[in-house]
């Protein structure tokens, strides 16, 4: 997994609430058997017009946001379907960090599994960052995961909380399947205990 340590980049404002994963990547794109190539389809329904041309009003079609690496958005981002394609599409576009008041649970986990940092902040702080993002290219945000701060263009630092396990995985780019496989013996012990207490689970 790709590491995430610090990031300084253009932040795109998307002041919408309850952005669902169908909106992030519509179902027709889920027919792929790969993780890559979904960037152009990110937010397809609101990013392109019916004739397939870009909608100039959509934030990611405007300069400098075409190069956005951070997305600032409203509450309950990523709700709905479990599709990890939503994360792959954001990543494919170049977004490595999303900042919002909160996220839907499955999306939250999926992002971290792909080296993407999601920052939860109180609405007031998100509002400030949304204003910064609206200023465009002169207003780059920085995110420092080690120190757990978002740094505004004026230098103000906003601290955020994050689960220590997720932080560690992201900072070190750890493959958690490999980590779990180191605990194989414990898993086998659990299974033999379960075979005795609830044998019908083993046929």
């Amino acid at each position: 997994m790709e590491k995430f340590t610090t990031l300084t980049g253009i932040a795109a404002p998307l002041p919408m609430i309850n952005v669902d994963t169908d909106k992030i990547i519509p179902a027709v794109w889920l027919k792929t058997i790969k993780r890559t190539g979904l960037g152009p389809a990110l937010f397809e329904a609101i990013r392109y017009k019916a004739d397939g041309s870009e909608d100039p009003d959509f934030v990611l079609n405007k300069e400098p946001y075409r190069k956005a690496e951070i997305l600032v958005t409203g509450k309950n981002f990523g709700c709905g379907s479990s599709r990890e394609h939503a994360v792959w599409a954001l990543d494919g576009f170049g977004i490595r960090c999303v900042i919002a008041p909160d996220f839907a649970d499955i999306f939250y986990t999926n992002a971290f599994k792909n080296g993407m940092l999601l920052v939860k902040l109180p609405q007031d702080d998100v509002d400030k960052l949304m204003e910064d993002a609206e200023k465009g290219g002169n207003a780059r945000l920085s995110v420092d995961l080690e120190r757990q701060v978002v740094i505004r263009p004026d230098g103000e630092e906003i601290a955020f909380d994050i689960d220590p396990f997720r932080k560690n995985c992201l900072l070190n780019g750890l493959d958690d399947i490999a980590l779990t496989l180191q605990k194989k013996a414990e898993i086998a012990d659990f299974e033999s205990g379960q075979k005795k207490t609830t044998p019908w689970l083993y046929g």
């Binding site: 169908d22 058997i33 220590p164 689970l201």
Partner: protein, 468 residues
């Protein structure tokens, strides 16, 4: 004495392989269901790392999302869909996983076939790369959706790295009026707590109105827990649950039944167990419900009117309402009953079970679908389809002018040819009215199977209570 535990706590605690100091747990997963849309990349990951599936026999594989609901004797016409289904078949064979092919009568929507086969049992941990895995919570199993990376993790290790969720209890007291069913109950709950109301929680549903539901109804309720933001829903197992499981192909056999039953009876929450949040609704207050917007929380009684964004409580909500109404092509103040539809869809993992089809057929019987309306009935599995045919429900539907289809997810997410055209309005028994969910530009109104049947016959959204 140990402190009283909830159903969730009991299942969780009995599946912890290892607990780290910060509370992160390695959680054992008893059963894993796999479908074509969220698994190909996981199998690739396993192959790349040279890993195997740890417990193939604890896994069940089926294709449902992409499959056509007509012409099933022919190859799938859409290339991408066909490749995805073929990839699933190859992966199941390569990793030695049990697979129900499209030609098997047991094929169907993953959340319908698990319970149907007895694969789903109380006290289990169950996952699937699909958010509606919450459905299986109706059996008192801790069941939740995961992404593709976690699918890979479960295949390789039969575990997940998780932190425990919080406990929420939703009690639905009393009994509902005629015309109000499980779908209305869960829509009422979502309307009350919102689509993020359950985030970080597992919801346990209790109360007379819940206990009185059949397993099918309980599955409808638990299914939409995710639309309330909760990762899982739970209903304590009881005699209704046990009677449903007994004798199913993958259920504990006669030699193990008594031991299993004794264990299952220990699962319900202890008296005095505490919850992080509690909500109570009265079933008698619930009317048949319909969504008007593009989020499942945008729900109102059939007697209501399209709301006015000007009355929204904050600017963000107002903007999202304005956008929803524009997308839906609706004006504030329009009565919900009477909004013309073009399509009616009965099916999905929310409402594609036998009882749902009976409920819809009871309204359709002896009536006709209104002229110009496309009405689809898509049974949730081959076995549901067969049972419905044995009961003559297919004839009721076809005589009324509904199309009777092969099982799959179908128009619930429009990955197969069943989809809405831009601007087309549907009454649907599915679970999501998101923009574009049933086809780009499509407009979805969620409601119960009886209400969808009523809408198909009336040609517009209608009150099922007017159809005796």
């Amino acid at each position: 004495m140990t402190s009283p535990k909830t159903l969730f706590d009991k299942i969780w605690d009995s599946h912890v392989v290892r607990r780290d100091a910060d509370g992160t747990c390695l959680l054992y997963i008893d059963r894993h269901m796999v479908h074509e849309v969220t698994s190909a990349q996981a199998f690739d990951g396993l192959r790349l790392a040279g890993r195997k599936a740890r417990r193939p026999e604890a896994t069940l594989v089926v294709a449902d999302h992409n499959v056509p609901t007509t012409d099933r004797d022919k190859p799938i016409a859409d290339d991408d869909s066909r490749i995805q289904v073929e990839t699933l078949e190859k992966n199941a064979a390569e990793f030695g996983l049990p697979y129900f092919p499209l030609t098997d009568i047991r094929q169907g929507i993953v959340h319908i076939i698990g319970p149907e086969q007895g694969f789903t049992q109380p006290g289990m941990t169950i996952v699937c790369g699909d958010s509606h895995t919450a459905t299986h919570g109706a059996f008192g199993a801790l069941a939740f959706g995961v992404g593709t990376s976690e699918v890979e993790h479960v295949l390789a290790t039969q575990t997940l790295i998780q932190k425990p969720a919080k406990n929420m209890r939703i009690t639905v007291t009393g009994s509902p009026h005629p015309g109000v069913g499980a779908k209305d109950i869960i829509l009422a709950i979502i309307g009350q707590i919102g689509t993020a109301g359950g985030t970080g929680h597992v919801i346990e549903y209790t109360g007379e109105a819940i206990s009185a539901l059949s397993m099918e109804g309980r599955m409808t309720v638990c299914n939409m827990s995710i639309e309330a933001g909760a990762r899982a829903g739970l209903i304590a197992p009881d005699e209704t649950t046990f009677a449903y499981i007994l004798g199913r192909p993958m259920a504990p056999g006669a030699d193990q039944w008594d031991a299993a039953l004794a264990h299952w009876k220990t699962l319900p929450s202890d008296p005095g167990a505490t919850y992080d949040s509690e909500i109570t609704l009265s079933a008698a207050d619930i009317e048949p419900l319909v969504t008007w917007g593009t989020s499942p929380e945008d729900v109102l009684p059939i007697t209501g009117q399209v709301p006015d964004p000007a009355a929204a409580k904050d600017a963000a909500k107002r903007r999202s309402m304005e956008r929803a109404l524009e997308y839906m092509g609706l004006e504030p103040g329009t009565k919900l009953a009477g909004i013309p539809i073009r399509t009616a869809f009965i099916g999905s993992c929310t409402n594609g079970r036998i009882e749902d089809l009976r409920e819809a057929a009871a309204i359709a019987k002896g009536r006709k679908v209104a002229p110009g309306i496309r009405a689809l009935v898509v049974p949730g599995s081959g076995l549901v389809k067969k049972q419905a045919e044995d009961e003559g429900l297919d004839t009721v539907f076809t005589q009324a002018g509904f199309e009777w289809r092969e099982p799959g997810c179908s128009m619930c997410l429009a990955m197969n040819p069943d989809k809405l055209a831009p601007g087309e309005r549907a009454a649907s028994t599915s679970n999501r009215n998101f923009e574009g969910r049933q086809g780009p530009g499509g407009r979805t109104h969620l409601m119960s199977p009886a209400m969808v049947a009523a809408a198909a016959i009336a040609g517009h959204i209608a009150d099922v209570r007017d159809f005796d």
